[in-house]
Symmetry: C2
Subunit: 255 residues, 2 copies
DNA sequence: AAGGGCTCGTGCACGAATGCACAAAGTTGA
DNA sequence: TCAACTTTGTGCATTCGTGCACGAGCCCTT
């Protein structure tokens, strides 16, 4: 209905307008991959890399890679490619990895321990500031990481640590039924970014960003495609409800 | 000598196959959430639910939910809503969860143990058929799950288990440097679906689907937005390379 | 039976994301 | 210096995903 009034911005390019450079979300999600591969290449002593080489190493197409990188600026050299170390630094800077972010982890089960002992944690701009749990026989125990060791603290001290040490990111590795409570504690403590490994949908204010990691979802998506592989096309609705009448025998599934 | 020339099966293969009903990939990725929430509602004795209620519980908009569900068929009742149990069953059937899929897990560190002990594993149509590791002092040990316990077997026996017991999905929870080798073993054993927790890009044939779960990526995406929260707009390029000359002082970052 | 109220299903339009193809810009070699 | 070659950066077209708005259909009340 409201026919879009002609925009006066001369070019159709999306970032030209008022607010500088807005990088597409899909691009942001790929930058960490580029960064990791570039780091690996730098460690192998590779000096320059073409978009074609880097793209195949990252599992994307070269056109997509070049477009992604173009949002950061013109950091390549035509006829040559990209300087590995320089480009890696630019991506790190764009992602905000040049100064470390404080991370708190709540839930010290197997999963929590696995995350804490993950190498790439510290080496990629993140610093664990505390481990928390609510279970009495876990609180007080120590978790040894490669260079440091942490004493598990009660969740009641979460806000204190966030305030004092300036944490910015919270990781939830608790069972599902505790996750919402922990999320609310994190929000109240002042965190705006949460990674949630618990299989529940968190309810948080709109200015808090939650990223969900869920094994069950991944498995089920794969199961869907595996099933498609078996049932070539539309032979799905075979034995049940052949005419798909809406209000018909929908209780038949219990039979 | 340099990096192995990766060539990942980029992107989710066009699940079309024939044509008929091809569900969009974005929808497939949300179906597991709907399924989980519906299951929880059914356990609470909820009989019917409107698209608005279900959408809020799943963290999506009602329009998106209805469009997603419309790809499966017309399973709602106008003026009323959806029957919780019935809709849950239809989603489960579409995802292929009505008969369990066999899963093998390679890499029995903290992460592997965490996944195996995950409750929702068996209850959502998946059955663990074996745990594998290459480290001698892990092989032979047992991992206790709620109802069963597994003996860790050497990776050499992977193909045998896949063939004999009919596994369909492989989960990689090894360190990064072992992941590519394990992926190749899985492919050779006949698996077409892999969930990869190791922070590397896997190189597999195009008919194998890999889903990647990566903590570092999630953290870095959050870091990006945290940084944006601080640096309101374009004050990023402050101290370094103010005029952004292409071939200029790009080594300055090392200074 | 008829009308009113509620909610699903979907056509349409818009924005985001991808892929293609090529000009621009740099390097190499004579 | 100039021409041939290589690779980036990007305009354009196409596909994909999302949101709005409304007709269609079901239930309930009178």
């Amino acid at each position: 209905m409201p026919l879009p009034d002609f925009r006066e911005s001369a070019g159709p390019l999306p970032c030209a307008g008022g607010k500088g450079n807005s990088i597409p979300e899909a691009t942001v999600a790929r930058l960490p991959i580029y960064h990791r591969v570039l780091t690996a290449m730098a460690e192998q002593g590779i000096i320059t890399v073409s978009s074609e080489e880097l793209a195949t190493a990252c599992g994307v197409t070269s056109a997509k890679l070049r477009k992604d990188l173009s949002y950061l600026g013109s950091y390549g050299t035509r006829g040559v490619g990209y300087e590995v170390e320089f480009l890696g630094y630019q991506i790190a800077r764009e992602l905000g990895l040049t100064s470390p972010w404080g991370v708190v982890v709540v839930g010290v089960g197997n999963l929590g321990r696995a995350l804490v002992s993950y190498r790439g944690f510290a080496s990629r701009g993140f610093r664990i500031l505390g481990l928390f749990d609510s279970h009495p026989d876990v609180v007080g125990s120590t978790v040894a990481v490669v260079d440091r060791s942490f004493t598990v603290r009660p969740v009641e001290e979460l806000a204190e640590v966030v305030a004092d040490q300036g944490a910015h990111i919270g990781v939830i590795t608790t069972p599902a039924d505790a996750a919402q409570d922990i999320a609310e504690r994190m929000v109240k403590a002042g965190l705006h970014s949460i990674v949630n490994f618990a299989p529940v949908v968190l309810n948080v204010p709109t200015d808090v960003e939650v990223r969900k990691v869920d094994l069950a979802v991944e498995l089920q998506v794969l199961a869907f495609h595996e099933q498609r592989r078996k049932n070539p096309a539309g032979s799905v609705v075979t034995e049940l409800d052949p005419q798909r009448s809406v209000s018909g025998d929908r209780k038949a599934m219990n039979a």
